[in-house]
Symmetry: C2
Subunit: 305 residues, 2 copies
């Protein structure tokens, strides 16, 4: 189906619990309108799909215009070629859902579906910190760690649509247990919850070194988050600093391996954990450089969006 | 320059000490003729270039016909876009040599230059075990470990022409010292000389467990090679089997990381070490699968050439 060059675009982002819909005029970078909804615990794919459609139709009703196309960012593995959601690691019931075809039938316009990290990589390449480069690895360090490649101006998604899963590259053999069943995956060492778990374990073992962090958490180690670890580190907490430094080093090890394998021109890092300050970035960059061959130059930069 | 569709192709392979030239008729896979020369210890780039040109001109003199193009496989980093050899890790004097332009001036026909692993990847994709696939990682496990990517029918060489350096991905932090200065690189754990060094160290420490290997080496641990380790393992030598198993496991770890990052359709393994038997291949495949996400299917197959 050709896409109407003057119509509206509907952008849908299906997250683990947070879903966003936005309308924009083609060729413009500013939203015309957007809406957000949160799923209750236990929501399944059917619930999320209905909530998203309701939200999208409300947006369209408030902003008359000709819809041209629907673009979808999905938080899980997608077969983009067939527009098929393979599964969600967080929401049950998404297995093999033909989301592209469902949306084309619903809205009567072309739709495209891809994994959220791939879509973010393309977005950074087109509008953000990846502009002008030929090969880009985008990595988001947040509740989990995911990534996507843009090579020669296109998303590279691999044979099963799964390329970019740097979060499950083992960076510390025998290390922390990962949701995927392995040990020492980058995600298990460096994502926000991994920092929180590491800090909690250390706090229990040696409370004196993490006094500032413990105070920030109101005295309840169970309330420690990755964000609090970064805050405590910035405030001089030695325990939090060590936990944050370890997460940065492990990320650098993972990026170094990716550099050796693919020699990308630029690596763009997004997600909340990357807001952990200059020292975090310095360790990530130094470790990545130390783990890659010296002939490979690469810029490691923060996401623009 | 357009390439004469009916002429001869001259293929040149510059190795560390072994250099090969071959002539073939375009579109045919069989050599018309080939020649090989070995450089003496201490030879530099100037020596190797002269030896190669002499050999090529002799081939051409013996096989009259119109030369159409020259294709070069170079054992070191190459900027293929500019036809520039960046350096050789084995032969001094290659730094920033414009080999493509030198050959075009010498032979008066178009020339193309790329890294040997990239060229091997393309060869396997076109004529070997990679035929028909969309994304291919080729890895050679030999004196060193190198690799190359073919994505969508083209060599993917990265921002500095260095993509595919899986040999310098760290698979065992703090492991064996690597020529690149790091520790625990795949090359330092799994190449032929790495197996030899590991076996020699073990033989010195516990000679009783490696009696068969020691006998194969004529009682001189200094003569142990990777090939002898594989032979001794096949003959039931426990020490050699452990060394070989470790090399296979480390290769599987490295491949698992590459699978997570790039989700290639196929991985083709070449080089002498891959001739180490069924158990070697089984460990490589199992470890790679165990280190990649289960949604990623990938075939790991021996090189066809």
């Amino acid at each position: 189906m050709p896409i109407d060059p003057h119509g509206l675009l509907l952008a849908l982002d299906y997250g683990g619990t947070k879903h966003t819909a936005a309308l924009l005029v083609r060729g413009e970078q500013k939203w015309l309108a957007h809406a957000r909804t949160f799923s209750p615990p236990g929501a399944d794919a059917r619930y999320d799909q209905a909530a998203m459609l309701r939200m999208a139709h409300e947006l369209l009703a408030r902003h008359p215009g000709r819809l041209a196309a629907v673009g979808v960012s999905f938080g899980g593995p997608v077969d983009a070629g067939r527009g098929l959601v393979r599964l969600s690691h967080h929401v049950p019931g998404w297995e093999e859902t033909p989301l592209r075809d469902l949306l084309q039938a619903e809205f009567g316009v072309p739709a495209a579906v891809d994994n959220d990290a791939n879509v973010a990589a393309l977005g950074e390449w087109r509008y953000g910190a990846g502009q002008g480069c030929q090969s880009l690895l985008y990595v988001t360090i947040s509740t989990g760690i995911g990534g996507g490649w843009v090579l020669a101006g296109r998303i590279y998604s691999g044979a099963d649509g799964m390329a970019g899963e740097i979060g499950h590259v083992v960076v510390r053999p025998g290390g922390a247990a990962c949701v995927c069943g392995k040990r020492g995956c980058l995600e298990a060492e460096s994502c926000g919850p991994a920092m929180a778990r590491a800090a909690q374990a250390r706090l229990a073992a040696e409370p004196a070194t993490g006094a500032h962090l413990a105070a920030l958490a109101g005295g309840d180690p169970g309330r420690v988050t990755g964000k609090l670890v970064a805050e405590a580190a910035a405030g001089g907490d030695a325990l939090a600093q060590e936990v944050l430094d370890h997460a940065a080093r492990m990320l650098g090890v993972g990026l170094g391996g990716a550099i050796n394998l693919m020699n990308p021109e630029r690596i763009v890092l997004g997600g909340g954990v990357t807001k952990s300050g200059d020292r975090y970035w310095q360790i990530v960059r130094e470790t990545a450089r130390d783990h890659a061959l010296p002939q490979m130059r690469v810029e490691i930069v923060p996401a623009g969006w």
